[in-house]
């Protein structure tokens, strides 16, 4: 009879299952032990399942959070977790989480990942979460006494890995892949994320604020890291001047796309007009609100303007239960080459203000609600601007029911070309 009859039912459901993955890890851990590898937490993955099974039966958690756990010199990056079932599952009595600072844009070589996993196989449960909601690599489950040697082994890797943020500190900054892979990027998200991380190491590793503070960097208004919904300081790439148009490429799109229906009519400000005879489009750039719709639809024909930089939005947060705030525009445009200096300057002013008058566990966005945007703008030395609207939307998430989804012409065309929509297959092959 299985020790985990309730958990065993979970992989039968339609979704990827954490139970299946933890069982796989347990098998790998057993194998590593049998091979004589130096495994410090043998049996911990299986014990974790046992503890969760007991929680399902008891209908309550058996974890206690918090503690003194950290590595020398750091106040954040490790989340203490203890089991109150020490006698039944001693293997997971300590089950601390380590947050590891991921590289900008989440690029890894397989070598880097293998090395990191070897360290984690030795010092921890082997269970990981790629990635946590802040973006860190999450290593789940180790003992207090293994934290320091695990950290030291990570630091010795080539490339080395450092611990990320947790607690009342600067959380690990994250960035979209930006110019490395994406031609929409209006600034170098990877570089600035790296530079900000290095500049504010003290703030990242030594928690001392009222609560957490997050930077997220998106290279364009598509905002692939959802910065405007989740980051206290969201830096979103944008441009000044005219969207670049390649009229020859527009003509190619016109061969198979209904530009009037799919692009012109869906521009939120009606800024686009289309000459169906000449197969050319015109954009009234003074009315463009940088929604990216036309550029996303016709990436070969349209590109962001040449004068590039970023907008800084302030105060977003996305808690699990309620109280989500979407960021407000704090600085409408910072040229790309001034971004780092300006961001450092603004961040330090905000932290000084927030740290001074912020209440316990009050995020910057909540402080702005409480004290008013006027005071905030004085703090960062900005004039009020028409782009600083108070209420773009109350909830940053939009949900659609299956039946509300309408297939676009683009999707139809892609299907005709052999793309299996939403299945990640192309011409029968997995991609």
């Amino acid at each position: 009879m299985s020790e985990t009859p309730l958990l065993d039912q979970i992989p039968d459901g339609p979704w990827p299952s954490f139970v299946k993955e933890i069982k796989k890890t347990a098998e790998l851990q057993d194998k590593a032990v049998a091979e004589g590898k130096d495994i410090k937490m043998p049996g911990s993955a299986r014990a974790l399942l046992k503890q969760i099974e007991i929680s399902y039966k008891d209908k309550k958690t058996h974890w206690k959070h918090g503690g003194i756990v950290s590595v020398v010199g750091y106040g954040g990056g490790v989340i203490g977790r203890y089991s109150d079932l020490e006698d039944i599952v001693p293997e997971v009595h300590h089950f601390h989480t380590i947050r590891v600072n991921m590289p900008s844009g989440w690029f890894y070589s397989t070598k880097a990942l293998r090395q990191l996993m070897d360290v984690w196989e030795k010092w921890g449960s082997g269970i990981t979460n790629f990635h946590g909601s802040t973006g860190d690599i999450i290593l789940l489950g180790t003992k207090s006494e293994y934290l320091q040697p695990c950290f030291e082994d990570m630091m010795k890797l080539d490339p080395p890995f450092d611990i990320g943020g947790s607690g009342s500190d600067l959380r690990t900054p994250s960035a979209c892949m930006g110019p490395a892979l994406c031609e929409f990027a209006c600034y170098d998200t990877l570089q600035i994320c790296h530079d900000i991380t290095m500049e504010f190491q003290n703030e990242l590793h030594r928690p001392m604020w009222p609560y957490k503070f997050k930077f997220k960097f998106s290279g364009c208004p598509n905002d692939c890291v959802a910065a405007k919904a989740r980051a206290d300081c969201a830096v979103i790439g944008t441009w000044k001047g005219e969207i670049q148009i390649d009229q020859d490429a527009v003509k190619e799109y016109a061969e198979w796309m209904d530009i009037e229906e799919e692009v012109v009519k869906l521009c939120p400000t009606g800024a686009i007009s289309y000459d169906a005879e000449k197969k050319e489009i015109k954009i009234d750039n003074s009315n463009c609100v940088r929604c990216m719709h036309c550029i996303n639809k016709m990436p070969k024909a349209l590109k962001p303007g040449k004068e590039r930089g970023a907008t800084v939005l302030i105060g977003a947060k996305a808690p699990f239960v309620e109280g989500a705030i979407i960021g407000w525009v704090a600085v409408p445009f910072i040229p790309a080459d001034e971004l780092f200096d300006t961001l450092c300057e603004i961040a330090e002013k905000i932290w000084e203000w927030w740290d001074d008058i912020g209440k316990f566990r009050e995020r910057v966005g909540e402080l702005i609600w409480r004290r008013g945007i006027g005071e905030f703008l004085n703090v960062i030395g900005q004039e009020a601007d028409v782009r600083m609207i108070k209420h773009p939307r109350t909830n940053p998430f939009m949900f659609f029911k299956e039946e509300e989804l309408v297939e676009s012409e683009v999707v139809k065309k892609l299907k005709e070309r052999g793309m299996k929509w939403r299945s990640f297959e192309y011409e029968g092959e997995e991609i």
């Binding site: 918090g66 503690g67 950290s70 106040g75 954040g76 989340i79 500190d169 009222p210 609560y211």
Partner: protein
């Protein structure tokens, strides 16, 4: 940047308080009627010297002496 300085007496006052409960810097500064930046600096120096330590709930961070934290952890373990 202006260098933050303090006296041994200030440091001692902070240390005494840290041995009594888990603190947030701001509250500690308020109770001691000291400048927050100075308290912050003292606490960081005490951490370097091993005389103070962090205690984290995961989402928020507090400070106390290792002795107090050990005692607190023991009480927590006993439920």
């Amino acid at each position: 940047m202006v260098e933050i300085t303090y006296t041994e007496e200030d440091k001692q006052k902070v240390l005494e308080k840290l041995d009594q409960k888990l603190w947030k810097i701001k509250d500690l500064a308020k109770v001691l009627r000291m400048n927050k930046k100075v308290v912050q600096k003292i606490v960081m120096d005490l951490i370097e010297e091993g005389k103070a330590a962090y205690w984290s709930s995961g989402s928020t961070t507090y400070y106390a002496t290792p002795r107090y934290i050990e005692e607190y952890e023991k009480r927590r373990a006993e439920g």
